[in-house]
Structures are given as C-alpha cells and as structure tokens.
Symmetry: D2
Subunit: 411 residues, 4 copies
C-alpha cells in the first residue's frame, strides 16, 4: 500500500435503480450472496447509496418525503466475505474515512408524514418536511434552516454482519410476539415483507425466501448491531462486531453527514450517498474472549469539539405533555426534553419543524441523567451553541428574526 490508491471494493451507480444492483440488498438474511471478498487486515473503499436509495431530490418541496416508498430503503452495500472469518470471531472494523461523492455535495433531513413513516414527535408534528444541506468541505449549511452551520460528525447509520439462521429466527419470533400483542393502533415493529425485498445477486428462489424470512433493516438489533445510528461512530472509530456466519458477510450503508443523539425525526440525520473507507481485522474467537453479546466501539479522536461549557442543556422528565406521569420512562423524558428545546429556539423566529429537523441532525448530546428516582426518568439534551451564527445564551435577549422556512409538501 501507499504507492497506489486504496481498492474500491464496491461501486454503486447513482443513476440506476437500487434494486437492479447486485452489490446492494435490503434485508438481513444469511442467504444473501456475498458480493466480494476482503482480506484480513485489508483497507477498502465501499460506495453507498443514501438510505432512500435516491428517492429524495435537492429542491424546495417535501412531496418526495411525504410520498417516500418505505419498502425501498436502506439498500446496504455488501455483503462482503472477510477471508477466514468464522462464527464466534469478532470483526474489528476501523472507520478510516467517510466522504460524500465529489459531484453530489449535499444531503437531506426529513420529517416523514405521520401516516407514512412518522417520527419521534409525529403526534405533534404530523406533516412531511425537508431540509437540504449543502456540504462545503467538512461543514454543512441549509437554505431551509438559516443561521446554523456546523462540521459534520460523519458516520454510517448501519453496519453489521449477517445473522445466522438461528438468530434470524429468534428476531422474527420476538418481534412477531410484539406485533401480535400490539393494541396501540400504530406499527410497533416491521415483520418480514416480500414486497421489494432485494437479495443482491440472489436468484429468484433465494430472493423469495429472503423476502419471506429476511429481517427488515429498520431497527438495530443486539446480536449484530445493524441500524444503530450512533452519531459518535465517526472517522477514526473502531467497531467490534460479532460474527455469526462463515465469512462474516459484512454490510454497510445509510451514511450520515451528521446526526443528533436519538435521530429524532426518523429520517433525521443528514442523509447522503458517499464512500466509506474501512479496515477489517479478524479477532479469532473474539466473542468468547470479550464476553460479547452486542457490538462495542471506541470512538475516534477527531470529533468536532465545542468545549464542555458550550452546550446549552435542557432537562426533561417522564411527565408527558398532557401532564400524565410515566414510570421511569426515558423515552417519554427525552420527548419532553426535545419539546423544551423547540419552545426555546422558537423565540428566534424558527418554525417548529425547522427546529425538529435541526435537533435530528445537528450534533446534539442526548444523555440519560437519572433513571432510578421513581417515578421520573430525567434526560438532558445539550445543544452546541457554536453552531448558531447568533448568540443563544439565556442571558442574551432573544430577537425574533426572519428565518424563512423548511420545505413542506404541497397540499
């Protein structure tokens, strides 16, 4: 190495439907055929689509977000065989770099319509909305959310190794039980779905099987990671992944230029297509050695740093907006914390949807503060003040400004 460019293990075609590309797939299943082999200790580049597979346009309407086809998302690049990886090993993946495509220096953040996707605050904000972000090197800014600009904490939303047949069966069983018991009137999990299931290079029969059994890519899962959306899994991070099948069958996708803790609006990161540079190292028998049931990682040393004193931090508790008391529910508490930020930032002239989008994609810190003092969970959300080009400290009088608008769907 050194004298020549790093090998690109997979190229994608941004102008061809994802479902026609053999190096992509959108289900977790051990039967998806490998699309290539990577040596132990090798460094490669892997190209990835954005998580909607290119459904969202760089324009000022959110119609595309409103009408997104959620059966056609999360096309992952892979799976790759890592030479000599065996079940029980741990695959150490080092994230050496992530970059957008040079000729596509932009991304998007969306709020899905409540009836098609929804999000963390969809009861309050049911409309589809969108912000386009322009990338200028490591920075991004949006014509749809003026007054902010920040360096991306760039990361993959999804990475993991394929489940074994046994693990896949376990996933389908436990998620099926949740679905069976559901009385909430909203989706609580995504069962296998043959429609638009894409098994990469799989033939028709295998594809059908993948469609019937394959796990959806929406949730992360403890046994392999998957869609974890961890904002700190950025450049320089090392991830330790359990291996469940021969060759590991590693996949990656859903690149984010930036994301806030919780990715609250669901399509909440700054979603982008791009290129990830990874190094793969096998740790033999690592799962037993590390007593590993779920992935572990070590973040890199290059996170954007705002100084500990530069986060304006909001508190929230497990009492919901109707005044109802919940029992140690960190999810309710975090929802309230988000609402506190919206109320605060609204004073500067932002529309609530703009803030909802911003909280989803800016590098906000969402902490679990207290989880034991019954009945209230307490969570905090730290907003880095330096991403604003005006002063948001509480002691400075808030001045309402004209802040334009994010993109909405036509009515």
């Amino acid at each position: 190495m050194g004298t020549k460019a790093i090998r690109t293990a997979l190229k994608v075609d941004l102008n061809k439907p994802a479902r026609e590309q053999k190096g992509l797939h959108n289900r977790w299943h051990p039967g998806v055929p490998s699309c290539g082999t990577i040596a132990n200790n090798e460094v490669v580049k892997i190209e990835c689509l954005d998580w909607t597979g290119g459904q969202i346009q760089n324009n000022d309407s959110a119609d595309d977000v409103r009408d997104v086809d959620l059966t056609q998302i999360h096309y992952l690049s892979g799976p790759f065989d890592i030479e000599a990886a065996e079940p029980g090993d741990v695959l150490l993946v080092e994230i050496q770099d992530i970059q957008p495509f040079e000729d596509q220096p932009w991304g998007f953040t969306g709020v899905f319509a409540r009836e098609n996707g929804g999000g963390f605050l969809d009861e309050i904000y049911p409309k589809a909305a969108k912000a386009i972000w322009d990338f200028e090197g490591i920075f991004c800014s949006s014509r749809h959310i003026p007054g902010v600009r920040f360096a991306g904490l760039i990361h993959p939303g999804i990475l993991g190794c394929a489940p074994s047949a046994e693990i896949l069966a376990e996933w389908n069983k436990r998620e099926g039980e949740l679905i069976a018991a559901n009385t909430t009137g909203r989706d609580v999990a995504k069962p296998p779905e043959p429609t638009n299931a894409h098994g990469g290079a799989a033939d028709e029969e295998i594809t059908a099987k993948i469609g019937r059994e394959g796990a959806r890519t929406i949730p992360g899962r403890p046994e392999h990671g998957g869609n974890c959306d961890i904002k700190n899994l950025s450049r320089g991070s090392k991830v330790y992944l359990p291996v469940h099948v021969a060759g590991a069958k590693f996949s990656v996708g859903d690149l984010h230029f930036s994301q806030g803790d919780g990715e609250i609006s669901f399509c909440g990161a700054i979603e982008m297509a791009g290129i990830i540079t990874l190094k793969f190292t096998i740790i033999k028998n690592g799962m037993a050695k590390m007593a590993m049931k779920s992935p572990i990682f070590q973040p890199g040393p290059v996170e954007p740093q705002f100084g500990p004193g530069r986060y304006l931090t909001f508190e929230g508790f497990s009492v919901d907006e109707n005044g109802k008391q919940h029992y140690l529910d960190a999810t309710v508490a975090y929802r309230q914390t988000c609402l506190r930020v919206i109320e605060y930032l609204r004073r500067y002239g932002y529309d609530d949807y703009q803030i909802y989008l911003l909280l989803s994609c800016a590098p906000v810190q969402g902490h679990i503060a207290g989880l034991v003092d019954i009945p209230n969970a307490c969570t905090t959300l730290g907003v880095p003040m330096d991403i604003f080009d005006f002063d948001i400290r509480p002691e400075v009088e808030a001045v309402k400004r004209f802040m334009g608008s994010c993109a909405f769907a036509s009515s």
Copy 2:
C-alpha cells in the same frame, strides 16, 4: 469581596441528627420557612449533609446500606429567600465550587437491597453492597474496587426552588394517579409521607401540613428540577431555575463527588457531605422570556476530559435479558447496555456488584443513540478507559486478577 472570606449562609452539624437542625428539610413544600436570605448577585457557601443524613459509615460492611431508613434521607439545606425574587422570575445559580469537608475526605456508593430501596438492576442484583471512596484532592479511589482511580466530576444531586401550592397539588395528583393505577407489585412513586417529615424551622402545625402534602425529594420534577442527578452540573455550571414562590425558596443538597449517567444503582453516586459555593442572580420575568418550563443549564469548562477516543463504548437495545422485545424503550435498552459492560469487565476479576457500583459512580457517558427505529431503542454507555490502571482495550488479552470485594451486608 476579595479581602475577606466568602460568607457561609448555612452551617450544618455532622454530629447532630438532621431532623433537629432548622436549616435542613426533607420535603418540597412552599410552607417550609426560609432559613436565611441571600442578596441578588451574592456569592455564598452552603454546607450540606450527605443524602442519607449520615447513616452510612466508613467501614467494610454494607449492613448500614441494607438497613438504611429511607424516610430519613435527602435532607436539603435551605430554603433560602433570594431577595426580590418573584414568581415568574428565573433564578440563575452559578456553581462556583464544591468541596468535601476537610476532615471527612471520603464518600460512598451503595447498592440498596431489593426489598429496601432497590435500584436499576435489582432483579439481577438484589443484595445490599457498598464501596467506600477515599478522596485525594480531586481524585478518588476505593479499597472496595481496586484498579480504578479518577477525578471527580463533582456536583449537587438536588437543587431547585420551592413549588407553589398549585404546582404541589399537581404533583400529588399526577403521581397519585400513577400509584392508583399500579399493578406491577413494586413501588412506582412515593406519595406524601408524614413519618419523619422535617419542615426545618416550621412549628408543629405547619410540619404536620408539610408531612401530609409535601412532595418527596426522590424524583426530579419538570416544574423545578429538584433531584436531577445530572453528572455534568459540575463546577463552573450555570443553572437557570424557574421561580414559583416569593423569595424563590431555594434549596440544595445530595452532593456527589462523581456519578455516571443514570446513577444506576440508585444510591449510585459517590455520596458525600460537603460545602457548595453558589452565586445567585435574578432574571426578572425570565420564565416568559425564555419560554421556560423546566430548568436549563450550561455546563462549566472544567470537566475531566479523557479525549473522545478514550471511551470504550457499549451498545444496548430494547430486548430484555429474557429475549422479550420492547417497543422503543430507552430504559430497557440502557439496562441492557449496563449488563454488557458488566459482562465485559467481569473478565478482569471484578465481582458483578463491584462493576454495578462502579458504573453508577464513575463518569460514564450514557447516550440515547437511536429512538425511532421500531421496535428497538439503542443506547450507548461509554466507559473512560483512563480510569483503570490496566489496559481494558478489546485488543489486549484480558487477564483475571484478584480484585478483592466490595462490602456486603452480613447474612
């Protein structure tokens, strides 16, 4: 100022029962008489008991933790009238410093017995346990958890202004409804409790009223903060508190030498008695100006810093230890994340209870990673590797060492 020492607004007596000291109280109620007045913009020192009011001893038995009287905890220092504060104002409290008492340079972390207090993992770890921490300047170490040593991120577990009568009524109503609906077989909230209610300088009649109506200090609450246990609310932080009664009636207590996000074992911080130095500034009509419903804070610039790449970070999901799938439940996810750390650190020779204690009090970072990918919430827990005197990186072979034991209760 400058030429003379900072005024001490309240002294406590470590050798006298807390319930006999008029500057202490253990209920939130507007009727607790003020124990002193502080001027706008004044800096004062306030002495505080530890949160058990001195029930825990520096020894090698956890009998005291097992038998702790939970009706006699959280004695707060105050309330103080802040001159000219009125309902609707915001009280800006700057935490200038926190120190243990010079002649009591130690603190404790406890695991309560499941039948008396419990904690976040009490179904798995039902026994009482204890670790004593010795303070050496800004550092602490424990004979009960060898191999670790770290700088404290020192902070108050509790601070806030008194509720108005209306707010207090609201608290009792909503928490009462939760209790009324409880079918879980465990306590879900703490109703008012006359036993050992201490109203400071209140006369008998008022004390009885406080006992009947006063809110327990265990949970933090959105309207005023209270027991938030926010580990980053340390030296140099500014907190903005809503004022609900004339004079604000500010109280503070439950000092922590250090705590991890979540304070998972309930008595999980390094609890200590000590002295807090605070500056008070009134922001007139601040609640409306800031659209404030819950406290906001800005952390200080002096947090212990380990570098972004020095946190070994564990992932957890809302699938519980029985394999049951929960719906976007960050609390379940965080519990799993804690278990992943315990499994990992156990390999070095630690007993599970030692790790449970350590996670509760060391400056671990608990983040909400993803909350929108149904059905799995994903949380992360970052353990600063530099607090260990051996190398805990995954690529280094784990060697089991003799790690002694934390204190347990006699049987």
Copy 3:
C-alpha cells in the same frame, strides 16, 4: 450551490514539471500575474503540489532528500484575484477541507543533509533521512517508523496575499541586513535568487524582475503570513489575511497531512500533494478596523483530541548541550526539549533519526512555558501517548523492540 460540485479553481499536473505550469509560482512578488479570479463569498477547490514539486519518491532510499534541489521548491498555487479586494482590506479565508489526491495516498517527512537544507538539530543529526507515510483515510502510518499511527491535523503550510512593492522592498532590506551582518558560517536568510525563479504566467521580462526582486518562500513574514507552518490551521479554521495589492493575489501551497509544533526537521511535516477547499470573504477596510499587522486565525472545532492528560510532556531550558548558558532563548530551550524526547523514546528501540522525523510530523504540542525568569527560557513539548501502539508512560518499564529503520541516503 449544493446541486453541483464545488468549482476547481486550479488543476495541477503531477506529471509535468512545476516550472512549466502557469498556475504555479515560487516567489512572492506583486508582479506575478493572476491565474484566475474568485468571487467574494465563493467556495473553490485548489490543487497543490507537494512542497518539493514532486522531487521525493515513495521508496526506501533518502538519496532524493539528500539531493533535493532547493531552488525548485514551494511551488504555490495562484495567485488568485479575489474580486473587489483592495489594499487595507482583510481577506477571510475559511479552510473547508484538505484532502490528498485519491490516487496518491501517501506523503513524506525528510531530514535534509546538513550541507543541503539542514534542520533544527542538524549539528547533531547531519545525515539525510526519510519516512514515507501511507494514508488510510484520516490516519497515517509509516513502514519507516513502526509502532505509531495517528490522525492527521491536515493544513496548508503556506498561504497569504502578495506583498506590495513597498513591503517587498522592506523585506529585502531587513533580510539583506541580517545576511550582511552574518558571521555564523551558516545561511541566516535567503536573498532573492534568479535561478529557477518561476513567475507563473509572467513573460520573460517580468520573470527576470521577479527573479531579481522576488521574496523567497521559505520564511513566513509578519506582513502577510506566508510559510507559517501552523499545525492548528486545519480544517474548519478561519484565517484573516491583510490585503496589500488590488485583488489580493492570494496563493496557497505546501500542504501538510500532519506536523508537530516547530516542524523541527525543516522538511518535517508529512508533505503531500492534494486539494484544498477554501471560502473567501472580503472584510472592507479590515486592517484598520482590526488593528491588524499580522494574520489572525481561529482554529476549527475538529482537531484530533487526545485529552489533556494524554500528553507526556518534556521540559527544556536555555542551557545547550555543551552546558552553555543562554539568555532567555526559547529557540535553544526548544532544541533541548526535543533532545529530551529523543533520549526518552530511544529506549524503545527507535533510531534517533526516526524520532527526529516523528517529532517533526506528529501532532506534538510545543509550548513556551516561561520566558521571564532570567536566564532560562523554559519550553515544553507534549507527545500524545495515544499515537503509539505500546504504552510509553514512565511508570511502565521500557522494552527495547526491533523498530526497523527510516530511509537513509546511500553512501
């Protein structure tokens, strides 16, 4: 912007001699013709050669370093006219990104031979030496200095606006006086030198004038910055540059993947060719407004962070290696500090030249600690311990390992 790629304002040809490319030049002179125009507030990419203009090869011999032609270095990209910039303005340059060329993912650090270039420690280390660094995303490692790997703090060594004729005359005068007074037996400054002077698109006559008068690019100079070699001027930084001629005539070059404070071996950074993304904004009459005589900058938020406690820091004083006492000489003190590090790291099996190269290019922190306690200046040099894959803490026994060798010149 946003929908299309960022404009590349200058392309360079890595396979064509630098002196034949019209967008490059190697002298500071107001007469160098502009190679293009950039609008106020525009973002552009600019390609740059490495500072030797491609003289150094990716191999295991330092013959190329020993024989480097120092009249053919520092080919700068530019100058660019910034629309509407006038003398007295300040040019705000935001460094949005810097990347190596995709097909040339490597760089080099050199020690020049004492008789051809020299360096900070050339009396002790007179031989030519070289280390090749391979880039893996944001990281670099070298087969010539095993055991270290780190994230680059990538930056341009040189940027600035052209001097006016008056300023150029002042430079030549004051540096000429130093040369005239020189009795040290070594070069103390570089006078104008017609040999190989390259004036970009200048015709023969102008080129001759540039050769006679043009300032060499080696030193930085107070009036415009130039070759400042500031390691923290990395991605995300904003630099404020004085404008001395109409259009500003901005030039940039000498990209560094990483550098230590002082760039001690002279060719000490990890030198590379690459692409820099810059945004230009004019601040009218900025020099008077900011009372600016020399450039100012604000570093970006994304520096690699090792935590304040992860720097092993060495002290040095202005007593030289012969025991001679110097008067408050920070340069002597820093030289001693470097020697202290070399003595320390040598114990692990490194050759002195390897360490000399490493100190020049790794992100070490060189601070001026004390400059007033006669007669000793005290400087410190902090080495980030996390760049080593073994433990260099003083309390851990040093074990000598086989560390190979850097590249040397043949004899």
Copy 4:
C-alpha cells in the same frame, strides 16, 4: 487514609515574616536542613506563601509592586525528606489539589517597574502596575480588568528536589560565565546573593554558606526543574523529578491561580498563598531507566476546556518592532505576538497595561509554530474567547467601552 483528614506536612504563618519561619527557604542548596519527612506513597498537604512572601496588598495602588524587595521572594516550603529516596531515583509527585486559603480568596498579577524587576515587554511598558483578582470558587475576576472572568488552571510555579553540590557548582559556573560576558546593560542572570538568603532551620554558619553558594530561585534549571511556571502542571498532573541528594529534599512554592504561557509580565501569574496536596512515590533508579535529564510530566484530565475553535490566535515573527530581522529567534517572535494581541484588544477600551497583565495570567496558549524557516521563527498566541463577557471575534465590530484601569504606582 480515608477515615481522617490528610496530614498537613507544613503550616505557614501568614502574619509572621517569612525569613523567621523554619519551614521556608529561598535558595537551592543541598545544605538547607530538611523540615520534615514524608513516607513513600504518602499524601500530604503543604502550605505555601505567595511568591513575594506577602509583600503585595489587596488595594488599588501599585506602589507595593514598584517597591517590591526582590531579595525576599520565592520562599519555598520545605525541603522535605522523602523516605528512602536516593540520588538516581526519580520522585513521582502527583498534584492532587491546590486551593487558596479559605480566608484569603484573592491573588494578584503585577508588572514590575523596569528598574526593579522588569518583564518581557519592559522596554515598552516600564511602569509598575497591578491587578487584584477575587476568587469565587474555581473562577476569578478583577475589578482592575473588567469584562473577563475565567476558571483558574491552578498550579505551582516552583517545585523540585535539591541540587547536589556538584550540580550547584555547575549552575554557578555556567551562569557566572553568562554574567561575565554580559554587555547588554541589563541583568542576564542572578548570581548567589547573601543578602536575605534564608536557609530554613540552618544555623548561622550554614546560612552564610547557603548565601554564598546557593542558587537563586528565579530561573528554572534543566537538572531539577525548579521555577518552570508551566501553566498546565495543574490538578491531576504527575511530575517526574530527578533526585540528586539523599532524601530528595523536595521543595514547592510560588502557587499560581492561573497563568498564560510565558508568564510574560514576570510577576505575571495570579500569585497567591495557599495549600497544595501532593502524593509522593519513589521510582528506584528512575533516572537511568527513563534516560532522564530534565523533569517530565503528564498533565491532569481536568484542564478548563474552551474547545479548539474558541481560541482567537495571533501570529508573530522574529522581526522586532523596529523592523529589525532576527535569526530564528522564538523569543523575539513571541514578544511580537504579544504586541499583536495588545493592539487588537486595545480597541475595546482596555489600557495596554491591562492587556499586558491579562496576557500574563489568563490561560493563553503560546505555541512554537515554526522554527526552521530562516530567518523567521513564527510563534502563535491563542486567546480563549470565552473568558470575555463580550464577543471578540474579528467579524464583530469592536465597540470601545469604559474599562476602568489597573492599579498604578503613585508618582
């Protein structure tokens, strides 16, 4: 430990002349009798005077600074015998904490008059001046320099072990040679001086010998450290000190609440009396093991952190204010860098002396940027913007405000 307070190894009396206290001394000499013994691995508190031994008052006149008796400064606490330390060992000193005295929460920064002490910029700023700093917990502010407030990076200016007779002789020889060769018209070093030499508990004869031979405490020296004035040697730091005499004979003093890199005004830190908590550990034969000629340290994890992007950074070069070119002189470059900051901050209404004082004591970062590009050394000085209560970014218009005055001497 743990159950009782940390032992105080030395108490000082703030109301008694320093020269009458047997636990203090003001010369480095192996003959100063030990004032106490500390065990290996012991933690102790040591009280210290401020570096003028109490000559400076908390008032608004700088007469005391102008008239300071420089033969009566730097009274060090000690020396202490560390049990079993022998020449060739290394003494590991951990700085656990530093605090001002509780009833003396203030310190001072001075500019000495050029004819009595002087400082880094005394040719430009020859008058005596003073700022008093009030401590509020970890913060300080000054009525003499309004508009700034910051957390102290508290540290000892001086610590070290006693020199052996041989080392002392070497010091006197090399500094004597510098003095002998001096033609500058200003003091270049401080020779031994019997006047007011204080040898602690030494008898008359030994005291006389100490006066004749003892090294002055002003400069730090490579063999043992001493007066290094390293601002980052703060709480949590570990210092590794060479041991030259039996028992080590460790001394400490000159506590600083805060200091900027360079301590430019000489009496430039925020000088204070106070209490330092230290832990001592002997590393047998450490000097050979670590190849140690000068002290090494590892800073603590709790430095005030402003974020890498929050330092407004100024550049300076080795061309002096008369336009004279100097050869790679970092000292000249740093002086110019300081002047650039003064010119910039003057625009807000500050008097030059206020800024000179501020640069000396605020946690500014002074880096050696480039030291090899003949003839210009380049240094940088980073000013943390967050210490100001107004916005000093270059893009914000500077508004002149009334900034009062620092204290000056009467005329």
